[in-house]
Structures are given as structure tokens and as C-alpha cells.
Amino acid sequence: MDLVLQFLANTGFGLADYRNLIMIVVGSFFVYLAIAKKYEPLLLLPIGFGVILGNIPFFKGFGIGIYEANSVLHYLYFGVTSGVYPSIIFLGLGAMTDFSFLLANPKLMLLGAAAQMGIFFTYLAALALGFSPHEASSVAIIGGADGPTSIFLTAKLAPHLIGPVAIAAYSYMALIPIIQPPIMKLLVSKKEMLIRMPDLRQVSRRELVIFPVVGMVLCTFLAPAAIPLLGPFFFGNIMKESGVVDRLANTARTAIIDTATILVGLTVGASTQGDVFLNPKSVGIFLLGAVAFSIATASGLLFAKFMNLFLKEKINPLLGAAGVSAVPGSAREVHMMGQKADPTNFLLMHAMACNSSGVIGSAVCAGILWSFLMG
């Protein structure tokens, strides 16, 4: 009987803590959202399952958990804490990104810059709430709506916050259809939503090949700390556009990015062990993340309206919401909002231009914040 009782005490049932159970419910909810509601399933399914996995109670000290040295999960998690996975994801992202829309209408790049203002507002808000500068930067970068960038910067500045920051960043990326539309309706009038964008000019292959080189040189000269993100990003893009290494570009945008996404999702999810994750700071991060994302969206929308004061050919202010780098979720949302106002208005390509600019912008922001605080 003692043996049975001892065995039961050592099982998950015996070791279970209410915080683990709460997190298992949260993980299950993510899995439900991914499968039933199809909210960013590529992100939410691995993360949700990882949350459940990471919260299975176990005997500490046997090299099982993600925070225990020599455990398998710990080794896999190294890709997150070292910033390797974000770089690999950026490589694949570059090999997927089509910059022709941005090259055809370069002024849309300013919307990608404007949407990054949410990061700096949130940085101030986080400092005001008592976060240290390193923590505040990690929280603020959620406003860029870019999961890999958030993970990368947090791994460098505040590794103890990787779990909550990553979960918040990916959650808000998945919740774009819920967060962005009310802000768009609030700040953009019906008349403005009807503005049509001009047809885009044809972009030559030579321009597409030159851009990754020019873009990388300029951005990394400006923020050298962004090299681990922007280097692979523009390299992936030149592989795609040059057309001479199609096999490599194809591998980067399929097998490589998929592998990194699986590993980053699963390990970030597993890093949310209830006893580590459930604390007031995590709640604060989630709230500030929502603020950052909302301000970023609003900044983009307002800046687009500001640009219209000076432009002869007005741009649709909805495009400002796609300045956050949640690719392609925010672009899709802008397009759908535009179509609700006028079913014959197609904004998707223009929104993708803002989106790709947002990816560059948030990586530059991460590099700048890291540069300011690395000393």
C-alpha cells in the first residue's frame, strides 16, 4: 500500500499545483482557438500544446523540465534564449517576402515607421509602471507585433521574461482580428475607408535584386545590433529575388522556417511553467502588450491621415494599421475592412507593402533598444 501511495505522490496527479492547472487550461484554450477558430494556427497550436506540455507536473532535479540543465527541452530552448530561432525565422521570412509592392510605392514605408511609435510609447509606460529599462524594452517591443523580434530582444535584455513576452506577442498577433478593427473604426471615417489606391507600377527584377543589398547596408549601418535579424532577412530575400538559388530559397521558406517555427512555438509554450509564469509581472506584460499593440495600430492610422494633409494623391488611412509587422494578419485585416466599406476596393497589395516595411522597422527598433541598453 505504501508503494502505491508513494507512486501516486510522484505522479502528476500528486504533484499538481493549481498554477499548472490554470496554465493547462490556457494552453487548451490556445489549442481550441487554433483548431476550431483557426486563429493563427501555425503559431497558436505549437504554443498551446507547449503550454500544456510545460505544465505537466514532474519531479524536479531529474533533468526533465525546460529550466533544468541537461533536459531535452532545455537544449531545444537554447535556440530561443540564444536568439538562434528568431534569426532562422527571419531567413525564411525574407525568402517569402515580396518587396515589389513596397518598391512600387515607397512612401508606404513611412507607415511602417509610424507604427513603431507604439514601441516607444509603451517603453515609457513600462518604465512608469516600475519595470527596469531592460524589462521595459522587452515589453515595449511587443508593440512591433513581431514574435521573433520580441523573443530576440527579450533573450538579449531580459531573458527571465521570454515566456510572457513571447506568449503575449504571439497572442496579440493571433488576436489581430479582434484588436485592430475597433481601432480602425474609431479613427478612420467611412469616407476615408473608401479611398482607392492607384495601380502599382511594374517593378523590374534588377530593382528587386538591388533592394536587399541597399536595405541591409542602410539598416544595419544605422542599427548594427539588428544584424542578427536583418542580415538573414535580406539574405533570404536576395536568394528569392536573384533566381539563381531557387532550391535554397525554397528550402528557407519551407523546411527551415517551418522547423524553427515548430521549435520556437513548442519551447516558448513549454517555458510558461505555472510556478514561473503566473505572477503579477506577467499580467502587467500582457496588459502593456495590448497597450503597445493598440498604440502601434493607432500610430499607423493617424500618421496615414497626417500624410494625407500633404499628399495630392491621398492614401487610404486603413493602410496605417498594416504598419505593424504582423505578416500577413494585419494586411489581411486592413483589406477586409476596406472591402466591408467598398467590396470593389482591393487594398491587400498596398497593405503588404506596409507590412514588409513594419518587419524592417521593428527589427531596427529592436537593434536600437539593444544598442541603447547593452552597456
Binding site: A113, Q116, A128, V214
Partner: protein, 140 residues
């Protein structure tokens, strides 16, 4: 420490304003560069202003006729007896057959030389006649 005091203490205002300005100016510069990129590319694509020599295709010329391998006078002297064996108006093929029969060297070339020199006057339908007048003209 909380609020504005915490922001000031951590140099927050300066970091936020400077960071925002750097990002904005960086992307604005990139935007400016890529807005001019197509003009630069068009400049590179413009064909160079050079005078292009167009090779005019020359009219195909007939291959030079082989020169007479031997001197005209001995050839005439050699072929005249054969011509005399034939009718005054004879078929060129008969002269050729006769030359072959007597094993004269290069009968084809020799007959062509005689023809070119005007010693054999064509009458049509492959019929020729020996003509001595033209040789004077040729020599003059």
C-alpha cells in the same frame, strides 16, 4: 520608483525620442532611396551612345573560275586535231569523250579554257563551233 520620476531617472524620455527619430529617419531615407532606385536602374539600362558599325552583308560572289592550268597556245595546238576529227559543229560532250580517249590531261579544264578564251563558240543546245577570230581579240 514609478511614474514620470522613473522615466526621467532611467533616461526614458531621451531613449524614446531618440529611438523614434532614428527609426523614422532611417526608414524615410530608405524610402527615399528606393523611390529613386528605378531611375538609377533605368540609367544603367540605357544603351551606350556609340556608333555602331553595321556590317553590310556583301553580295555573294561567284567562286573564281579556276585558271587555265596550262598555256592557251599549247592547249589549242593539242585540241585542234581533235576538233578537226569532229563535224564543224559538234557537241561539247563529243570533244570531251575524244580527249578522254586520247588520254589528254585535264580534259574538262582544258575545254573550259578554250571556251573562256572564245575558241569554242556556243551555238545553243550544247552545240559548239571552233572559232579562231576570238583568239586575236583575246590576245589584243
Amino acid at each position: 520608483m514609478y511614474g514620470f520620476e522613473a522615466i526621467s531617472q532611467n533616461n526614458g524620455w531621451a531613449i524614446a525620442v531618440t529611438g523614434a527619430c532614428i527609426v523614422f529617419s532611417g526608414l524615410a531615407t530608405l524610402s527615399l532611396i528606393i523611390s529613386q532606385l528605378h531611375k538609377l536602374v533605368a540609367l544603367l539600362d540605357r544603351p551606350p551612345k556609340v556608333i555602331v558599325d553595321v556590317d553590310v552583308e556583301e553580295e555573294p560572289q561567284a567562286p573564281p573560275r579556276p585558271e587555265c592550268p596550262m598555256a592557251l597556245e599549247p592547249t589549242v595546238a593539242r585540241y585542234l586535231p581533235l576538233i578537226e576529227e569532229l563535224e564543224p559543229e559538234f557537241n561539247l560532250a563529243d570533244l570531251y569523250a575524244l580527249a578522254k580517249r586520247y588520254h589528254l590531261p585535264h580534259p574538262h579544264l582544258s575545254i573550259r579554257c578554250l571556251q573562256d578564251a572564245g575558241k569554242l563558240q556556243p551555238l545553243g543546245d550544247g552545240i559548239f563551233r571552233y572559232s579562231d577570230n576570238s583568239s586575236d581579240k583575246e590576245n589584243s
